[in-house]
Symmetry: C2
């Protein structure tokens, strides 16, 4: 009945989403307070209080047919003006509304970029561990995701390996900074070296290789670390941004794509993105929330809550004998599994109502992901379960 | 730079959207009051006043992380319960939340259905004239749109022609009821005959043929006409519904898909739709508006405004000598072009700041579409322009 592509997806459906559903099931059996669901990146930190006020203002001041109506497929002109002005000020850039396409979150953004650039069998590279959906997004357009492993001691990109997998079929590289699932933030030096390599490869192969920077976690960083603005390092750069995490609005599906001004074929690419937004069925990013965002550019969530969670959970896991790179961004820990079989380890954790996601789901077996965007109390209450898990594994 | 598929789309971009942009350009030159933009189906009737109140209530009463957060990819369980209960009462059905997937409008709904069912080169049939985006939606998944002409005197489906284009490659038929661009509403008798034909063909060819009913205009009907509920006529039916027109919320991208309980492979199909919603980048339908809809199931826009517009414009065009099927639904007129070359006719109309869309954009040359979801005053003010156009064509 369903398509062949879908058949394999139905049988191997997202383990993260399956865990999320499993968490709800276990909560019904054992009570929510006794289930420790580290499976999904659903922010627990509240959206800024201003959001509610801004919505009321818009509904009071603007005409309903305008607020809830169609606009250009790229989004309202004034919203794109405001976002480009905000980015110009923040990063010292020279963007205009023409560089911005409003999207249904970063997931929508990545899909319209890939729809616009991929021919069948084109290759898109990403570093492992990677957000598992990238594979689906690339396959939506009959492309092939090519995995370039990182050094699992640091999760920094390995440029030598990257260089070896770039071919004339390479159409793009997806970079996730800060990274989901490791929480690692790539430095200016890493980005510069990466940009140099891509530029050399473009010349050598006489092709265009796009850099797609997936940045939903840009604002969720700790220890005063800075996330470089990739537009300054490499001309053929797209940024996929989302307010899902930065304003805790993941259900609203609101974000944008930035197309670098110096990109090869800028006009053709922006036209293609507009059309892709329309014909993939998004039509436009949700209208009210476009207008909310334009009035919330300076708003932020309380990132210190995530930082406290990180410290609490990281320190406890380390004290139990787990090995883990200390993340400087996003809200995930990606410790080593005590056994190579990360799926078995997660199954064992579930005995104690601990829901973790196997690293295999991110192309990096032997690790597990913990989303610590849950309450501080809940993390503390989960410690006895982790302690039992550590005992089970003789840590 | 961009993909080959996109190249042809960029050069043949949507004429409707191009007209919409042209309307804005002409308005800047001649003043908005002197441009008569009949190009796009952007509802002019205001959303129900209750929408604003409902939004306030939700923001006052529910937790922001819940209202703006992730939920099941199919949508909030309680929202799907409320919608299925509403449909059960209205149409005497037996649906549950499992029959409903919340989508980013009908465009999102159609795309996830097609993503779920189409293998490359599968054929999807639709009757001409048809909403031009169907072709793009089908091609997104490497399918082929097959056009079955209707009788242009009535725009009723011609089942003999339909029968002749159904093959073993036919995976689905998209039906748009009420129809865009003709405004024709298919009767129970027509639907029953169509369902019988599809059932026979399924048996004969030993295949599954899905009926996809695209129903964004279901509520926009006149003369007390009834739109049949296709779930009762044919087991393998999907309904794609949207609140874009029925509640004048086109920018918010909110709608749903109904999967008929008696559909072949129901469980597999619903799983596939959930996954398609996620991986195409929608993730879920916008969360706040899911909750708004659940509290607005009885809300409606003032359809009598469109009915008055229809009568005003239809009567004037007829008085000028145009030929046109009188529509009983949607907010479009689809008169014959006085010359076969509808593109030239629309270009001539533009001289008088009249923006019409050629029938060719709907697979039906020799006609033009007028979207009369604009103000009554504007329609009246456009009469001198139509009069000049009639003189130019010696009508």
């Amino acid at each position: 009945m369903i398509s062949n592509k879908m058949k394999s997806l139905v049988s191997n459906s997202s383990i993260i989403r399956a865990m999320f559903e499993e968490g709800k099931r276990l909560s019904e059996i054992y009570g929510e307070e006794n289930v420790f669901d580290y499976s999904i990146g659903n922010p627990n930190v509240e959206p800024p209080e201003s959001i509610k006020k801004v919505i009321s203002e818009i509904l009071d001041e603007e005409k309903p047919n305008y607020v809830h109506g169609y606009m250009n497929n790229a989004g309202y002109e004034d919203v794109r003006d405001d976002i480009s002005a905000f980015l110009n000020k923040k990063h010292d850039l020279d963007l205009s509304r023409n560089n911005i396409v409003m999207t249904c979150g970063a997931a929508g953004g990545l899909n319209i970029i890939l729809k616009s650039i991929l021919n069948p069998d084109d290759e898109v590279i990403t570093f492992a561990p990677y957000f598992g959906e990238y594979k689906n997004y690339v396959q939506n357009f009959n492309g092939k995701l090519v995995i370039s492993p990182t050094d699992t001691e640091t999760f920094e990109p390995d440029l030598k390996t990257l260089s070896s997998v770039i071919t004339s079929k390479t159409k793009a590289l997806i970079l996730n900074n800060p990274n989901n699932p490791t929480g690692v933030v790539y430095s200016k030096e890493v980005i510069q070296a990466l940009a140099n390599l891509l530029s050399e490869k473009q010349k050598e192969l006489n092709t265009t290789i796009y850099l797609i920077s997936d940045e939903p976690y840009r604002e969720i960083v700790y220890d005063n670390i800075e996330v470089p603005c990739l537009l300054k390092y490499y001309p053929n750069t797209f940024i996929g941004y989302s307010y899902s995490k930065s304003l805790s609005l993941p259900g609203e599906r609101i974000g944008y794509v930035v197309i670098n001004t110096s990109m090869d074929g800028f006009d053709e690419v922006t036209s293609a993105l507009n059309i892709a937004n329309r014909i993939l069925g998004f039509v436009n990013a949700p209208s009210l929330f476009q207008r909310v965002i334009a009035k919330s550019l300076d708003a932020e969530v309380d990132v210190s809550i995530y930082e406290k969670n990180r410290d609490l959970l990281y320190n406890h896991l380390i004290s139990l004998g787990f090995t883990c790179v200390k993340p400087q961004g996003a809200f995930y820990l990606f410790p080593k599994s005590p056994i190579e079989d990360d799926v078995k380890f997660c199954a064992d954790a579930k005995q104690f109502n601990l829901l973790l996601v196997p690293g295999s789901a991110f192309g990096c077996p032997g690790h597990v992901r913990l989303a610590y965007c849950i309450s501080y109390e809940k993390i503390k209450n989960s410690f006895p379960a982790f302690d039992k898990l550590a005992v089970l594994y003789n840590l």
